[in-house]
Symmetry: C2
Subunit: 526 residues, 2 copies
């Protein structure tokens, strides 16, 4: 028996150091580290499954959740594996020696526990939590705990402000050094609602600075960035985008995934699978991105309808008040419009079909969708009234002049060319090759269209990955149709995608036929 | 352009079926499926990262969360990978064709959302949720959402009963067909507290049916099952265990991981990394296991102390009342004792050291730890009083007679032989080869011992994996020590584990020295 105390050796002296291996698993905004079950370090340290470890290499350090592996094809006993997110964040090459130790929990965990316990948190608590989240120091379990604890019954409006403010301050923050900087956002849920691509050129043509960055589709068949990408390059470095915006007063680009309000993307990674979409989190997500993007004035579109995100006027009004409170605390001017979200806007659903609709409105094409034109003009009018020199009520007429005179088209073409034009003919959009029509099952009037079902059909047909895939509507609420008359046409890129979409339309076309009296009329602004 | 509607082909017709691959990652009570990013099915179905998929093969079906993979060493484009848990649950061989589709969410998800929204749930809701959890239909994210939503401020005592009852009814349920069936449980946190190994033979020698199943260590340096395993086989099939218990009136075996109250193990997989240990969840965890094991009478040990799980008497009393309420609703007789948890019980911490202490008490060895003997006799006395023919207050004396007459030792040897005896000499326990002593830094009286630190030292030294590793205490609270006198001895299996343990003892020995007046005295039953 050896009775002398050991010398103060470091683990590096007594254990062979591990080498780094990249494990090609997309753990979706969670840092995961993989150790083999028989690895000496794993056995010695008494790590628990899912426990938090700290990984250090080359002066860098990250936190990760530990997964135990039994397959040497993933990691062997001399390797530490990192998932894609973690590997990128550590920024060290494969094969590099790494050291691993039990991590101290992230500094904000006590605040998380107070929130779980139902306490109000202070501004500093939200700052620390959001900092840790943005740096992927939270595991999926901790992240979920935060999201659930903050869910609707838990955050008061002051806390929503603290959260929004904290989110806007991690990551990149833009400062355009002029005033106003206008932006427009829709809370989503309405397919084909591509008003930004008309509002931005109108506002920019009027002279307002309108640096619009938008998202790609996540669960929808197309985001503004996907549709704009049919016409122009949307993935530009921030520096180039800044120059372009100053020259042309506007842009329609992709916001990137993590430069502005990166904590938002991390939070969304658990909110989505959990279908949690609370008012507080929606407000924080939207306003933090806009504040980080340097917007001073925001026009917000809240569509209401039986198949929209917001289903009643009282709910829309509550949401509006929360947006207004938080925007005011953040020093942002906000104008909220509650709009008709009872059916898709325009005819097309899917990138190329929507780009066609937008270009038809800009070029006064005879088949330009009237509803898209009208909604865009109304929103553009409200946005023009952010101009301090414009009288309330004058915006709509001026917006219409800008559109009808061709100045909006000219501005759009300037922006397209500046971002990098792609060939596009609105009369011959690049539609996907496989196509079928969905006929009316009987005579009647269209009384309802389910936004969610049509979005799902367009996605099954391949949108947005296949830019020419989607749904082209041939009837709207209030239209009389006869049995067999096509309600819409579906375009799919591949036969099996056509099959998937077709099977859904047979189960549920998304259209309801009936008598005109059955149409739900919403008392909305427009 | 093809305008004819496609025939109703199934995905199996249009896509090559995938074959099953086992991916050696222990996802720890979560079913995870792996698809390659370029897999045709992944692209076609528009799956989201972390979305829930249903996997069918050979008439079996399971739900799993989807991970996207970029490395063909894990899965290629023709394979579907399953993590260890999921692979075992599906029960189909590698290479078998499998089909994958977007899963309907588990049926209990609406109830989960009501709980997140702060509502009380009904008995049926808990049944459905627990059923889905036990069948691994919840992702880690959904599981965390449930645990957080149920955390202490959220469940009233009636709901704790619903939860406990639901948990006890999934999985195996034992019925011993006699009355009473007695059991004993400690809420944990006190190293060396191996009273069960003395209480069971005393109660069984008296004739009470005492089928004790216990857990292995999770975060502690040894569980009762680990310590018993030094003396006997503890991993017996339920059928054999049943026969053995009827013959000998008792057993001390491992409860297995998932046969009794399997939902408990799943819930613990997120409670532990989150350090959530709410009263409601503790009560449901313990009472559901005991009810499923067929116990009619339970003696519960709640140790209180500055470094115990429960730190004050008011907290212990609140916990006792919750246990009592739920046990009564479950039809279980419960006797709660609040005990002194201010320091470890016995001398040894770690499987072999604890087994030595237990056998010394049973054999009246001169170095038998007095505190372990006394606490065990007091608990055994209370348990004997579950016998309807015994007068209140007589239990302790009878328990002492059973121990001192050697009947408890005889019973223990019967049980050990029946389970499968292992060679063990209490005078020469199989201690780990590397050893060092921790000396008192000065003269004084031991005023406090930190249970958590000593447990951590024993774990770093290799317990419970290395059965001979651990800590052997040489001083207790109230003892006077001189500078340099050993406070305890640490046994480690490997040099590097000795290094880890030694480094911790240098930072924090776990012992506080001072004057006798600084000792905190607890007013507990014993």
């Amino acid at each position: 028996m050896n009775n002398t105390p050991p010398e103060s050796a470091t683990p590096e002296d007594t254990l062979t150091p591990l080498t780094l291996r990249r494990v090609g698993i997309d753990t979706y905004r969670e840092n995961v580290a993989y150790l083999h079950r028989e690895c000496a370090l794993y056995r010695a340290e008494g790590f628990q499954a899912l426990s938090k470890v700290e990984i250090r290499a080359n002066g860098q350090r990250i936190l990760a959740s530990l997964n135990v592996v039994d397959d040497t094809a993933i990691v062997d006993c001399q390797q530490l594996g990192l998932s894609e997110d973690a590997f990128t964040m550590l920024g060290v090459e494969e094969g590099h020696p790494v050291s691993v130790s039990q991590a101290e929990p992230p500094a904000s965990i006590p605040a998380l526990h107070r929130k779980i316990g139902g306490e109000r948190l202070y501004r500093e608590d939200f700052r620390h939590i959001i900092q840790d989240i943005a740096e992927l120091r939270y595991s999926k379990i901790e992240l979920t705990a935060f999201v659930v604890a903050c869910d609707q019954n838990e955050l008061d409006r002051e806390e929503v402000f603290f959260l929004s403010d904290a989110m806007s301050r991690v990551g990149r923050q833009l400062d355009w050094r002029e005033h106003p900087v206008v932006d427009k956002h829709c809370i989503g849920g309405i397919p084909g609602n591509r008003t930004s691509m008309l509002v931005v050129p109108i506002a920019a043509a009027h002279g307002l600075l309108c640096p619009k960055t938008s998202s790609r589709a996540i669960t929808s068949p197309s985001g503004t960035a996907d549709t704009m990408e049919v016409l122009a390059n949307v993935d530009l470095p921030f520096e180039e985008l800044g120059k372009l915006v100053r020259t042309h007063r506007g842009c329609i680009a992709w916001g990137g995934t993590s430069e502005l309000s990166p904590a938002d993307d991390v939070l969304i990674s658990v909110e989505r699978p959990l279908s949690i979409d609370s008012a507080g989190q929606m407000v924080a997500s939207i306003l933090s991105k806009k504040a980080a993007a340097g917007s001073t004035h925001l026009l917000l579109d809240i569509p209401v309808g039986p198949h929209a995100k917001v289903r009643s006027m009282p709910e829309a009004r509550r949401l509006r008040k929360l947006f207004e409170f938080v925007a005011q605390r953040m020093g942002m001017t906000l104008d909220v419009v509650i709009t008709d979200g009872s059916q898709p806007v325009g005819r097309g659903i899917g990138p190329a079909l929507e780009a066609r609709d937008v270009m038809r409105v800009l070029t006064h094409h005879p088949e330009a969708p009237v509803d898209l034109r009208l909604k865009s003009l109304r929103l553009a009018g409200r946005m023009l009234e952010f101009d301090p020199d414009m009288r309330g009520g004058d915006g709509f007429g001026i917006a219409r002049d800008i559109l009808d005179s061709g100045r909006a088209l000219d501005k759009m073409m300037d922006i397209i060319r500046a971002q990098g034009e792609k060939p596009f003919d609105p009369d011959h959009p690049p539609l996907a090759p496989h196509c079928f029509e969905v006929p009316a099952p009987g005579d009647g009037v269209v009384t309802a269209i389910d936004n969610l079902t049509l979005a799902r059909i367009a996605r099954l047909a391949g949108a947005p990955k296949a830019i020419g895939a989607g749904v082209d509507l041939m009837a709207r609420i209030g239209d009389s149709v006869e049995a067999g008359q096509p309600l819409y046409r579906v375009y799919a890129a591949y036969p099996n995608e056509m099959t998937f979409a077709h099977r859904l339309t047979e189960r549920d076309s998304g259209f309801t036929l009936g008598s005109p009296a059955e149409i739900t009329r919403l008392n909305v602004e427009f």
